[in-house]
Each structure stands twice: as C-alpha cells, then as structure tokens.
C-alpha cells in the first residue's frame, strides 16, 4: 500500500492508503473531514473540489497517493475559529445555497478564482463556476455571493 504524507489545512498527516483510495475518500473517511462532499462521484458536479498546491481539483478524480507531498485545502480550513471566511459570509448573506450540498465545492472554487483574479467580473465568475453544479438555486444568488465575497477579499 502506498504511504503518503500530505499537509491538510496546514497540518501534516502520514498514512498508508490502498492504491484505489480517492483523495475524496481519504479526506472524508481517513481524516474525517466530511465538509468535502461527494455529489456525483463521476467527476462532473464539483461538490468534492479541494485545493491541491493552490489549484482547485476534483478530489473524486484524484488518487490520494497522487497528493503525496502536496498541500491540500478543504472547506474546514477557511474559517478562522468562529469567524467565517469572507466568501463563506457572503454565501450566507446572499443565501447562495438551498440544500447546501454543493456549497463546499462552490466556496472552495470561488475563493481560489478570486485569489487568482481579485478583480474578477460576472462573466469571469460564471466561467469559473462551470465545473460546479447546483441543482437548487439557479445560480443567481451564488454569483451575487461570489461578487460580494470577492469585494470583501479585496478588502
């Protein structure tokens, strides 16, 4: 079994994993970080998006051993104690969710796209969310949330 060492939300963990273990399974079942959701499990919906070395990836389409040595960020790593990340706060303010299942992937994607392009506009936000599917909201409030979150992240 491959032995891997990863940093997850800043904390280093070393484990042996079955070769078939997906990064999403590793995060949820080994590390018990269940904020990362598995929606479709066919790598289409984006609910499982995490960051790997600063880039968004679908953790259900990545093997855990491919992340050996990598820096992984999950939704649990965003808030500072009781204080929500500005993007999380914006999703709450704009009600950028209904059932909430897609929200971890949406927020992780949104935070990363704003980091890469702080002045991102609405078209950029829509393009940036192409890999994240929401079956409840119709996206309008998500886009409003990302706009507000981007503004807050710019400070």
């Amino acid at each position: 079994m491959p032995a891997i060492t990863v940093r997850v939300n800043g904390l280093e963990v070393s484990k042996e994993v079955d070769a078939r273990t997906l990064l999403s399974t590793f995060i949820r079942e080994e590390l018990k970080l269940t904020g990362t959701h598995v929606g479709c499990d066919t790598s289409q919906c984006g609910a499982c998006v995490v960051t790997m070395n600063g880039k968004t990836v679908k953790s259900c389409a990545t093997f855990a051993w491919e992340a050996d040595g990598a820096d992984i960020g999950t939704i649990e790593g965003l808030a500072q104690g009781d204080e929500l990340h500005p993007m999380q706060a914006a999703f709450r303010e704009h009600h950028g969710l209904q059932c909430g299942f897609c929200t971890p992937g949406m927020v992780m994607t949104a935070v990363q796209m704003v980091k890469e392009n702080p002045s991102i506009d609405e078209e950029g936000i829509k393009a940036g969310l192409e890999g994240n599917i929401c079956r409840c909201t119709g996206y309008q409030n998500i886009i409003e949330a990302v706009k507000t979150g981007a503004k807050a992240m710019r400070g």
Partner: protein, 265 residues
C-alpha cells in the same frame, strides 16, 4: 474499481522499466478520463504507471517557428502561457475551453491526445495545426497519428513525451460545446501557413478528420464565403442523443466559417 499496483517512476527510463515489468500496465497522466473509467470498472490494468512525478515531462518551450508542449503540461498551463497566446492564440483558446477549470488543472495534453476521444478538443489542434507527436521511440506526424475511435498509432508501452506545433500564420478554433460535458459536439480548427490550409474536425466522426474540399476552397480564397454548405456528407458522422448526423454535418460548415473569420480577425 479493480485493484492495481502503483508505480511512480521518476524518469523516462524508469517509465520504460515499469512498462517492461508490468503484466498489463496503463499510463496515468492527469486522470480526468482514466480515473472515472477505472471507477466504472471499464478498465482493469495490472499496474498504473503514474507520470506525475517523471522529471522533464512538463513545460512549454517556444522556438523560432514552433511551440513544443511537454506531455504532462496541463490544459490550464497551456491556456495561460504567454508564448502560446501570442504565437498560436487559437491553441490557448482551445485549451482554455476544455472541460471546466478543475479538469484543466489536472488534465494534460499528452493524456488527451493519447486517449483520442472522438469529442476531445486537442486532436483537432494536433491535426489542424499539423503538429508532430514525439514519443519515447519516434516522431509521428499528426496525419499518421489518429487512426480511429480511441485509437492511435502508439504502440504498446510507447509514451508521448512532447508535442511540437509549427506556428501558423493564422489559425482559428470554434466549437459547439455539449452544454453538459463541454466536450465538442463539433469543433473545427482551421490553420493557414503560406499556401497551405488545414481544416480538422473533432466531435463529428469516430475520430478527428481533415476536410480536403474545404482546404482546397480556402487555399484559393481564405474567406468564410469559400466554404459552401454540403461539403461534408452526413453519412459517416456520429448520430446520437446529442445531435443527429445531419445536424453535425451542418455545424461543420457553420463552425468552419466562424473559425476562418476568427483566424482572419
């Protein structure tokens, strides 16, 4: 998925050794197609030979008249590369339109080209731009590389190391994306260099193909008006729930005109 052994070679030589040791080895590049395939138990390799840690398989180099993209370069890196954006903007645009941002962060040019999905974008770039596929064993012209649906002229254990694109005078790529998958329902790459025009179509047939009639018409006059309707017969095109073969035949003409217009702008 079925169980497999993991191999993580650090050099191309180690890759060759791993291929030799494996009973039925399979290369893993970005995994954006292969991992879903494994999950569905549609493949049962004895070994996954991961290319993610192979030294020297990633990067983009611009020479005077060509751009060389190493096999493990991601779609996101191709889309964002300054040299490609200025020398072959159609190629940067094509890479930036594959899948979604997360797929583009993992998916690689070598993986896409080796897989030769009939609806993938990169085969249109490789064939339309007349690129050369460089492998561990030889160099293969684009015209001799794509041989059928999910089929290429790669031999067992032969690894793509890089793809060399000659820089055209002008080129344009337009696709009609499937609204769910972003795969090309039809995609057309048009490139002109001197008196040579190449037109490559993806998504419409079992494998990417060139359209000689359009190339001849455009060689005489590189203008959207040169492309008449009906230059591609519907008979051999894909016919599925997403689009009829007649619709795809029509789209080829429409998108080719738009690609010529984009190339000329």
């Amino acid at each position: 998925m079925y169980d497999f052994q993991v191999k993580t070679p650090a050099s191309v030589d180690d890759v060759k050794a791993a291929v030799g040791d494996a009973e039925d080895g399979q290369f893993l590049a970005g995994g954006q197609t292969l991992i879903p395939v494994l999950k569905q138990r549609l493949a049962m390799p004895s070994d996954l030979i991961s290319l993610g840690r192979v030294d020297g398989l990633s990067g983009i180099q611009a020479a005077g008249d060509s751009i060389t993209i190493k096999a493990m370069t991601t779609h996101a890196d191709v889309a964002a590369n300054g040299d490609i954006k200025s020398a072959i903007p159609a190629l940067a645009k094509l890479a930036g339109g594959i899948g979604d941002p997360h797929v583009r962060n993992r998916g690689t040019i070598g993986g896409s080209v080796a897989n030769n999905d009939p609806a993938a974008d990169y085969p249109a770039a490789v064939l339309g731009l007349g690129a050369t596929v460089v492998t561990t064993e030889r160099e293969i012209d684009a015209d001799n590389f794509f041989t059928g649906m999910f089929e290429t002229s790669l031999k067992e254990g032969e690894l793509i190391t890089e793809i060399r694109f000659p820089i055209p005078e002008v080129a344009g790529y337009i696709k009609f994306p499937n609204p769910a998958t972003r795969y090309a329902l039809v995609g057309v790459m048009v490139a002109k260099t001197g008196n040579t025009v190449r037109v490559a179509v993806t998504g419409a047939g079992p494998s990417v193909f060139r359209v000689a009639e359009m190339e001849q018409a455009l060689t005489g006059n590189f203008s959207p008006d040169s492309i008449k309707d009906g230059l591609v017969a519907a008979d051999d095109l894909n016919n599925d729930i997403h689009a009829s073969r007649e619709y795809r035949a029509h789209l080829i003409g429409v998108l080719a005109r738009r690609a010529v217009a984009e190339a000329s702008s």
